[in-house]
Every structure is written in C-alpha cells, then in structure tokens.
Symmetry: D2
Subunit: 342 residues, 4 copies
C-alpha cells in the first residue's frame, strides 16, 4: 500500500501515519520527496480498510497496489475453474460453451414452457432458464409464479434432461430455490445484496452472478468474493450490460471487454447475456457470436414460444424459430473455435 | 400511451397492434401519417407492460405519457406529505428541516456513540443514525454489530431523547430492526431489492429510502411505490449522490436538482446526505447548505467521536467539533429560510 | 411528431400549440384523452426544433418519431455505401475489412515509422495511421510534428504503397492535411467541433469520424450528417470506446453493439479501434476479432516500432511482432467470414 | 511519481524502469516488497507522460502524486484570482457575484435583444450573454447570425452599459469575436478543442470556459491550463451540468460540488449555469441560489423576451418577468451572504 502525505503534512503527522501502518502489521519505508512524503507499506492489504488510513490528518491519498479480492483472483488459483453443473455438463476452462436459454419469466402457460424447453434441447442447449421470482422496477408488473414456477421448471427438466437455472431474490427463499434449481441465479439488481450473497454462499448449488448495471469489475469480483468467502467456490459470472451513454438504441451497453479482463484477473467462468445487454432481437446473434470470440464460457439467451404474449421482456425474446437460427450461427462460431485450437 | 409503428409496418400489423390495445382496455385512435402510423391509446397505462406491446411485429416504439408511479405521485396527493416520526418530530411540508447525524457504523465503543449522541442533541439534531447491519463491498470489511448495535442505539435514544434511524439489509431482519428503530433505512445498494421493499412496506415504522447510485428519478420513485403499494405510506426519500463522470475529487455526484424535481412530481419528503454524496469532509457544510436552499426537508450527516479510528467511512466523518461548526452554518440557513417565508 | 400536453393544459393552450404546428406546415390530429390531449403532427420533423415547441405553455413533452438525420440514414440510402479510398482500396458493403495501423503519433524517428509501415504492408494492412497534429489533455504533452509529420507519412506511402489517414484538429489546417492524407480523421474530442465538421465537409477526401467518448449514437450520426450536409458523402465512422462505469481495467468501454446498430440505421461504413477502446495490449486481438464478427468494415490498430519510447499511448501500442501475431488471428476471422458467406 | 512493478517483473525489468526514471531526471528510491517492487520517483511529474513509463515491460501501474495542472493550481497561486472584466466589473475572490444573462442565440429581432438587455441591467445584471456563433447538434438547426449578431450585442452594450460575453467556435474567428466581446466564451463541446484553447490563450480578452458534459474536474482544469499556458491568465470556469444517470427530468446533472472542489484546487473564479445544467425553467431559481451558497462567483442565466419564439433553448429560457422574479430571490441570497461575512 502507498500512503501519499499532503505537501503540508507536518513531521508529527507523518510519524503518526507511519506508526499506524506499523501497528497494523505493515513493514514501512518512508520516501521523503522535495514536495511530499510517501510511505510504502508492505504486507497484505486485504486486512485493512483504506478509509481508516485516509482519515488520518495529513494523508492525501492511499493507493492499493494489489487487487482486493482473493478467492476470486487468478493469483490464488492459476488455472481456470471448471464447475460441474450436473448431468455431465461442465463450464469453464476448455469446456465447450454452455448455452442457457428460455423465457424471461415462467408463466401460467406450462405447455409453452415445455415447448421452449424441447426446442432448446434439440437445438443443442444444455440449460433452461426462467424466472419464478421476478425483480420488477414497478410493483404493477408481473412478479412471478414463485414455487409453482419452480415446479414447472423441474417438470421441464424431467421431460428434456436440461438443467435449470433460476433467480433467487431473497435470503429466505435460497433453500427453496436451491432445492429445485441446478444453478441459483443472483440478478443484476441484487449483485450487492450482501445478505443474499452470503446465503447463496452457504448453498450447495453453483451460483450464476449477474453484473450490476453500474458495477465496476472490481465490485463485480468482490461480490463473487462474498459468495466464495461464505463457502461456495462455484461461482459463474455473467456480463449482461452496463449503464452507458445511450439507452435509445440498446437497453444497456454490452461491456464485451470485461470478458477477457475478468479472465486475466480471475479463474472463474464467465458467460454473456446478449438479450439483457442489448434488449433488441436483431442484436442477439451478433453479440452472442462476438462474446464467444471474446472468450465467453457460455451464453444466456431469452426465447419464448410466443413473445407477443410474454409477461416480461417480450421485445428482446427470440421466437423458437429465431432461436434455432441463432443457434446455427453460434454453432459455426463454436466449430471455428474448435478448429482453431488444434 | 403512444404506439409508433415502423414505416414498413403492414396494414395487418397495424390492425393487430390496434386490436391488442383495445383488448387491454384502451380506447384507441389511429393516426395515419405519410411515413408511419401512430396509435394513441387512452387509458391507465399502469396496468400494462410496454414491453409486451413493443414485442408486437411492426411496432417501432411505445411511449408513455404519464408517470408510472401512482401512490408516490403528486397527482394522487396534491399536498406535501408530513410524516410523524415520534416524540413530536415531523418531516415534510412546512416543518423545520430534520437533522439526522451519527457514525457510519455502530462500533464496539459504546461510550463513543453516547458521546456523539449527546453532542448531536445539544447541537440541535433530532435523530441519531448508525449502522448495525453494514453493507460492505468487500467481505473483509467490518460487517456490523447487528442486534448489539441496535441495543446501543436504543440506549443512546434513552439517554438523549433523540430518535434513531438504522439500516435493514435483509427481509428476515425487518421485524428486529423495526422493533428498535424509529425509522428503518433502506441503503442505496438495496434500493431495488424488491423483497426487502415489500417487507418494509408491511412494517409499522417510517422508511428512509436511499437513492441507488445509478438509479434514475423514475426508478427511485418506483422503489418508493413498491413500499407504498405494500401498505406503508410513510416513505422519506434520500438523495445521496449518483454515478458521475468523476470519482477522483468526490465519491459520488450530488444530484442536487433531484430535490426540486422530486418535490414537483411527488408529495414525499426528501432529505440529502452530503457525507455519502461527496465523501469529503470539507464539502459537507457547503453541500448541506445548498441542499436546504434547494428545498431539502432534512439532512443526514456522518459524525464520529474519533474518525481516525472509525471502522468505516472515517474520511468523510466529521469530528464532534467539526459537526458543531457545520450545525452553526446550517442554522443560519434555516433562519434565513424562515425569515424569507414571512 | 407527437406533442403531449400537460393534464392541466387549457383549451386555449391546446389550440395555440395546434395552430403553431399547422403554421409550421404540419398536418395535425388532436387526440383528446381522459387525462390529457396529444397532438399528432405529421410532416418532416427535420425542419423544426422540438425545443421551440416544448417552450409553448401547456406542452409537457415533444416526441420525435423519426430519426433526425437524413443523408446518413438508411432510409435515404438503402444499400451500404462503399467508399473508394484510392489505389483500389474500398471500404463498406461486402468489401474485405480494411486494416489501418501505425503509431499514435508521428515522431522524430522517421526510420521507425518506415519500419512500422513496411511491417503493416507485409502483414496485409492497407492504411498507415499516425498523428501529425495531436490533441492532448495536457499542454505539457507532445503536440505533434505538424507538417513535418505529414511529410514523413507521405514518404512512408511512397515507399510502401499504403494509403495514409491522419487527424486534423482545426479548420485552418484542413486544406493542408487533405493535401497529404488519403483519409482525413476527426478525433473523438472534436466530434462536435461543428466548424471543423463543416470544413472537412468541403474537403475532397474521405473523412474518418471518431465517436466522442460521451456521444450517443444519435449525436454520432448527426455529426456525420454535418459533414454530409456540407457536401462530403464519404464518411467512415469509427467506434473507439465510450465512457463507462469503469476505467480501472480498460481505458474506455468498447460499445461493440453500436456496430450492428449503426448498420441498421445508417448506410455508412463503420470501423473499430480496439487500441483506444481498451487501452490495453492484451485486449486488442480479442476485441478486434469480436468487432469483425459484429460486422465492422475495418479496424484501426496502434503499432509502434519501439513502444517503450513512444511519445504517446505506448501502453496500448503493439510492437511489430505483436501486431504480426494479431494480424494472423484477424486473418483467421476474415477467412471464416468469407467461408460463411458462401 | 510511484511506479508499481508487476509481481512477476524480473530484476532486469526493475533496473530498466529505474534507469529510465533517472534518465528522465528523477531521483528514485526502490522499495522492494515481499510481493512486488515499487519505485518512488521524486521530481516534477509535469515533464513526463505516464504512458511512456507504463509501456515499459514489467510495469503494472504509474501513479501520480501531484495534480497535473500548474498555472491553474492553487499551489501556484495561493489567493483567489480576481479578474477585471471592464467598466469596473470584477469577478472572483471577495467580489460580489456577477450575473450574466440573455438569450441562448442572438436572433434577427434586434429590438427583442435590446429589450432583454435593458431588463437585465435594471434587474441588477452586469453582463449580456447571447450566441452569434451557435454549436448545434443537428445541421438543420439555426447556426447563428455570426458577425451581425456580434454587432447587435455591441449595440446593446452601448445602450445599456452591460458587458458582453459570446461564444467563439473556431480558431479562425477568435480575433473577430475578441474585437466585439468583453469575454470570449468556449462552449462545453469545445472544451477539448485544443487549437481553439490555444488561440484564445493568445487573445487579450478574458475567457469563459464551460465544462464539457463528460469532462472530469482534472480535464476541466487542464483545459484551463492550455489557455493559461498559451499566455492568457484570465480564465473564468463555468459549471453547466454533466452527463448523469438521468436525462428524463433534467437535461444534465448539475455537479454543484464541483464549485467548492475547484475552489480548493484552483484559484480561478467559477460561475454556474443553471439554465443549461437543468434545462427546466422551474429549476433555475433553486439551482442558482444553491450555486451561490456553494460558493459560485457568478451565474449565467438564459432569458428571452419571447421564449415561445426563441430559435434555440426556448424551453429553458426565462421570460423577462420570470427573470426579474428570479433576480429578487438571488438578491436575497447575496444579501444573506454579505450579512454572514461580517
């Protein structure tokens, strides 16, 4: 850690800051410049809060020189994590990209859901997505079928052999959702719901963690760290678009560079959700393909048997026919990547 | 609602969209332009999801022409809401600004907390703030004393007569926190934790709702709507800074214009938190004063008996002496506003 | 255009707004709802300023239903524009991706520039980039060699057969730069320097227009519209990253979805600049490849013969060896795309 | 300057980086930690580009520990700058707030302009604003009367004794504009038009520099530095709103905290423009007052004799009557501030 003192800091303040760092267990070196003094503090920065040090009079700034996450970091785990999802499906490392698809919400029309599930399976997907608990900006929007929705998903799994991923919104529901789901999803708006992160950190199922719309990469990895620190190493990250300068033509800004960035700093698998990232049907295929080329370990795509009647996010849902066409293009990319490896 | 059709929309698509709007209970008028057709749909837009309509083929865009919130809107409640907080303290309307102050976290040093509380009371504050449950970006930071912290706050209330406001982070803790607190706080990162909003919507205590760092004003008011819709009309809003273009000189961007904007569109009281908005001690007094001039119904300010030793947010906490000086400047503003009214 | 009146608008205000729209040459239809009145105004919205209408008392909002750009729009020009750049190189439509590469700045070491140019040519690039006029955030940074730099570029063109693209920063220099360059570049920070846009609109050379770091897609296309309206139809757009929520791990946020969005709304060619978009060497190849998959018509890549000694942007410049390796990966993508077309 | 080496940096790389810093004239100290080595380089950081150092292999990050601006910095000029604007009007330091007001554009109706000017003078304003050269997002919008507009402004000055401030958009027009204007304005979109900054840096008139909508405070002060470095010390800064998370209720986000921040780091005067910052008439008075309380040295307010007919920005322009009412509220704030000083 680097502690930069104000040019006006007194000798007493410098000594106080120095002593505090030593008291915290750091080895310190004082660099006295012509303008200002800089204290280099050597040790494990994860044990202290920089704000406590910034509060010392005469301190201008505290600069970290290591990443603040540990379990999630590449330093602590050199090789890519490969997570077993069940029924032989694995994600991460050199595994083939995993395709998660399905409607935004699980709705009353169970037959529609089953129809979608069968189509996903036959198009080569591995996982069925669908929200039984729905976070909605407005209280007047559909809030989800809750346990009934989970049962419909489980039935679709029985029928197709797909795995299921579904969101949990509240610590009280973690056990219930984990009972049904193969992967428990944390939605973007709950990325910093720390009690919920802790709760899924104690669950026995892998967690799909979506990036918050205004979260930095550091905050995203620290959210994963919360889950891992609570005991669950099986975290799959998901880039789903962030706040940008424009929301007229796309719903969010798809931060595709975050995929190779996260692969550099973390060993965790990361997938992309082009449906939420763009909010436009015509952008799903090009963005899905680009994400795979950028290194994504999987994709999450919204597909609905009748998007005009969808309770939520119809505008970005593909029809079954559109999904099948997109899957063909995705397959070409996957084959190209396989051919390239050799 | 206005439905704009694509220039390429077929007559069949136009009729389908029109029929759908009528089926949803809207009265419709077709405006056929030279380039495109626009359907005006008249009725209460809160009952439908625009995305379901946007998903219809041939629809370019759906434009709302009313605000999507109802209980929180000025239209539904012309006069300012005045909320009774207990012990004669009221907030909103023409009531004098309410000052909430205290440390970021409740810490082990109970005597320190009591010292701060006494100072707040004698400087003219009405409410003691302090976190017993702490949302922390990193799992390695102090997470709060939980119920012990609530007990310390209650003891400070007994000793000083101040009311207390404290954060709840999880639906499972709402009952516990509401038992101790006079006002239950929802933190910025939980502004869209909808299960928690619903849970405090059923609590019997007023709720202080902080604006999320990337939340639009519409999302902020819709979060209040969730609480009100669940049954609790006593919501106090809090502007605490949003994501801006710069985080080098201030922690967040203090969106001071949101105060008069919200007063125009909503009847709910709104306070400002210059400590989180700026993250810098020297900015707290000017921003607190500016917020009052802009119409804030109250302030939330961080003060700590020994900021150098604070477990969290020391850099933005005032010392007791600094707080007393700030309160003098705030008092001048309050007196100026009173004199002006006459 | 849709004019939404306030719920409180008087009949007189409604008539006044209606009359104003008719006076402006629009055909109008009044839709009187239960809550508010909406005026549909049919005609060419490009002729009026919405703000003039918003200023009418009783008007709540004015909503455009057509894109505000014309020459740049796909509506006005159904097919992709293909721009002739010279020496047989074309960009746009089905033409093979055009690779522009070179150092950030043209520097004193002319031999270094020539070395880079030879390497670009032999790796399959078509265009040499290099700044002779440099926009710099700080006045203490290197400002460019100006005309000397242009001469070095021209010499490299003679030697290699590459075309050259270089930035112009001021209307007074347009003639000079256009004399030397094959493509005149407008930098991101000058995207809304309207006098400069007009000046290059009168030049006889194609223009490479970089997207401003905070520009919406609409503003970007309107900047192109300025150039086209002034008489120059040969505009190449360039996505180079925008302001995002994070600048710790990437310099900008690469808005890759803007590529297919712009292809939908405009006929102009668009290239991507992964060097500026990310600011990190290790991200250039994956982002370049992803951009091509997303539909980019070309790439701009920084390469320097000795990045450690570069006067600017060394950290994001590839060495010649790194560039050659990246070009191999790019070639694989180009071949894949060609194979796919068939 | 602090150079942080990668944990994997070799001894050779460390020595190379160290030698480079010494060659650049820095005194260096090597801090060898358990995980990584940090080089503290002592000297004047304004002479080097950090990117050149970041490009050295093995360097993870370069951290500046001083502000990169010099002439604009408080360190170089302890006291507030007071700038003489002519006719006895001064801005900055303890001088009374300076009010600049007028229409967005100078329009054909000269009598309207004179009417506004008379009203400004009699309401207590000192400076008439009005655009003769207009930067417009769309080429189809009114572009300004150019020299005719300047003549109208000069005539209004003769008639009222007000000073005039008006924008220059291009380096070729600086001489012309400076001939007419008392203060030459650089618009927000030209804040990083470096050739223009240099050109006004050579003019003999004070410069009003508006903050770019996405500019950080550092970039803003560096733009001022460009002007000062070119020879003109008389720079007045203007906060006019930045990009925020919401543009539905306000045009920009008014970054009011930037006022005391800039006063801490710079000696230059700073004014606020609540008209552009908010884009809403009803917000102008509260934001103007808040800006003065936050320390603004002046205000810029749009007022038009007939906003319904304004060529630009009518929706945010006050009528003369509204302006007079706002000026009364502003006067109360000024009197309050004066009373407080004593």
């Amino acid at each position: 850690m680097i502690i930069v003192m104000e040019p006006t800091a007194t000798e007493e303040q410098i000594q106080k800051a120095n002593a505090k760092m030593q008291a915290l267990g750091f080895k310190t070196i004082l660099n006295r410049g012509e303008v200002m003094t800089v204290i280099a503090a050597i040790g494990d920065k994860r044990l202290v809060q920089t704000q406590a040090i910034e509060a010392i009079d005469g301190v201008r700034e505290v600069k970290l020189i290591q990443e603040p996450f540990k379990f999630a970091s590449r330093e602590s785990h050199k090789d890519d994590s490969v997570i077993e999802l069940g029924r032989g499906v694995k994600i991460g490392g050199g595994e083939p990209p995993v395709i998660m698809a399905g409607p935004c919400s699980v709705e009353d029309d169970k037959e529609g859901l089953l129809k979608v599930a069968v189509a996903i399976k036959s198009a080569g997907g591995q996982i069925l997505r669908g929200g039984a608990f729905k976070p909605r900006t407005s209280p007047y929007d559909f809030q989800g079928l809750e346990e009934t929705g989970l049962k419909y998903l489980a039935e679709a799994r029985e029928k197709t052999g797909l795995l299921i991923v579904t969101e949990v919104m509240d610590s009280q529901d973690v056990e219930l959702v984990a009972d049904y789901a193969d992967i428990v999803q944390i939605g973007a708006r709950n990325m910093q719901n720390f009690k919920l992160l802790k709760a899924v950190g104690k669950a026995k199922k892998p967690v799909l963690l979506k990036r918050g719309p205004a979260a930095t990469i550091k905050e995203f990895l620290l959210a994963a760290e919360h889950i891992m620190y609570a005991g669950n190493p099986n975290v799959i990250l998901c880039e789903r678009g962030i706040l940008g300068v424009d929301s007229a033509y796309t719903r969010n800004t798809f931060d595709i560079a975050s995929i190779p960035v996260i692969k550099k700093y973390s060993h965790l698998p990361i997938i992309a959700d082009p449906s939420h990232a763009t909010g436009r049907r015509y952008l799903i295929s090009p963005m899905a393909q680009a994400a795979l080329i950028a290194g994504a370990d999987g994709l999450m795509i919204e597909v609905h048997h009748d998007p005009d009647k969808a309770y939520s996010d119809g505008a970005q849902s593909l029809t079954i026919e559109q999904f099948e066409a997109v899957m063909k293009e995705i397959d070409e990319i996957i084959k190209f990547k396989n051919a390239r490896k050799k």
